[in-house]
């Protein structure tokens, strides 16, 4: 099975091709650049490297967020149209879960997160059980301070993974002290090859209905909903 994986949900641009459970080519660029410029040339590159034609693709795997609204949309618009026009399944994976796969240790909690400004983060809580990642707490948008209180209550070591780790490091240490584990920088980057492998084994999503996992409502909409509630 040939899988094309696409991750443009955060700063890192990641594209990979896997064949029959093996990662054949991976491209990542961890620079501040518009993904709309870089994505298709990157796809073309990994496809050529692996001598894969679009018609030979069996699946598309996509990181569906949370993350940058625009970034996720660039990936999803591309992935959805490719899957639709080639009539092949699309599989969407949480961008946080994808990052959690970087951890191999057992008996630790994994908290991948992306900074969401004003003290907020997008995060979820995961656990690696013999190379199966399990969700302990759903992806959410929460104040980092509150989140740290919640994970502390498990009384287990917690591995934090994030490209935005620097901004939050002191608070994490302060709250969790020795229970907090911060691995080397390379572990904070999601692997598109991993996304391709996950895409090969997961159930497919409904293509037309697939939307980014923004987690947050648009401000105007949240306000409008609140007004509707108040007006009964």
């Amino acid at each position: 099975m040939n899988v094309l994986a696409i991750d443009t949900s955060n700063q890192l641009l990641g594209v990979a091709v896997s064949k029959d459970g093996e990662v054949k080519a991976e491209y990542t660029a961890n620079i501040k650049r518009n993904h709309s410029v870089g994505l298709m040339p990157a796809i073309d590159h990994v496809m050529q490297e692996t001598e894969t034609t679009p018609a030979q693709l069996d699946r598309i795997a996509i990181a569906k967020g949370p993350g940058s609204y625009t970034g996720v949309r660039i990936g999803l618009a591309t992935a959805k149209t490719i899957a639709w026009t080639l009539k092949i399944p699309i599989v969407a994976i949480s961008s946080l879960e994808l990052l959690a796969h970087n951890v191999r240790q057992q008996n630790v909690l994994i908290s991948p997160f992306f900074d969401a400004r004003r003290g907020l983060v997008y995060t979820g809580l995961y656990e690696n059980n013999y190379d199966r990642i399990h969700v302990k707490k759903e992806d959410q948008n929460i104040l980092m301070e509150q989140w740290l209180d919640e994970v502390q209550s498990y009384q287990k070591p917690v591995i934090f993974l994030s490209q935005d780790i620097k901004q939050h490091q002191s608070l994490i240490k302060e709250k969790l002290a020795k229970a907090a584990i911060i691995p080397p920088v390379i572990d904070h980057l999601p692997r598109p090859g991993q996304l391709a492998l996950l895409g090969a084994e997961r159930n497919e999503d409904n293509l037309h209905e697939l939307t980014p996992n923004y987690i947050r409502l648009v401000e105007a909409e949240a306000k409008w909903l609140k007004e509707q509630e108040q007006n009964g």
Binding site: L39, P41, D44, T70, I82, P212, E221
Partner: protein, 345 residues
Amino acid sequence: MSEYILGIETSCDETAAAIIKDGREIVSNVVASQIESHKRFGGVVPEIASRHHVEQITIVLEETFAKAGLTIDDMDAVAVTEGPGLVGALLVGVNAAKGLAYAHQKPLVGVHHIAGHIYANRLEKEFEFPLLALVVSGGHTELILMKEHGDFEIIGETRDDAAGEAYDKVARTLELPYPGGPKIDQLAHQGEANIDFPRAWLEEDCFDFSFSGLKSAVINTLHNAKQKGETLKQEDLAASFQASVVEVLTEKTFQAAKQYGVKQVIVAGGVAANKGLRAAMQAKFEPEESVELLFPSLSLCTDNAAMIAAAGAIAFKQGDRAKWDLNANPSLSLERYAKRSMLER
């Protein structure tokens, strides 16, 4: 062999796709409007527009191909609006177009949204050059001279608000529901233009426009009346406002048409649907036998993808090809776009 072009348009709040044949014939034309969603907020919320585009894009594409009874293999090229417009909205269309073109190794063509509005007319009537286009919409008020296909020279543009923007702002002041422009047109027909609002002619022989002064005058008149406890008839206010906008648009277009000796005058963009503007233009140009006045059908005035495919067909023929790094350009200039396809030739 016929030539088929797929067009994709997502620059604002319509998710649209269309297939046209041989540059001028609509085979299928699908528009998913988001108006109902944005009504709640009294205007287009860009982030919400972008979200809807992602939800709609493959559904709209599927309908477009189904209605045409064609497949992507039948297409000669994929054309997409690359700008101007809302960046987040444009990005969905651009990346969808790239996905389609890449998956089937089809040529990709980026199209300027205003070129699309002008070329909407070519789906109904062949162009004769030189021609003059008046593009009026919520975001644009421009007079564009075309000496040949793909060549666009802006000879006049608004220095502040677009005509459609002035309509929307006045509509909001009158507390009309969104979208307010067409409502003002309706009211204007039931009222009398008995308030003397200013007309901004600017310098002599200048084809630029300005509508912010007019907009302020309308708002001031309303406030003053309110303070004095008088009530102005909404219909009369709308009629007087519309009279000012229409007179300036018509007069300047007429003068420019004469000065450049054009064979056709095309009125394009959302405001081209305005009944008052249509009537005034027709009356003004009626005695001029050497100039043909063209308005697109109402369904082609508002944003659609058939117009993008129509403009794309010309750019495609002229050799304009986008690469895989094509990006959305929210402030793409029409003249730079025109030069680009000229350079390719």
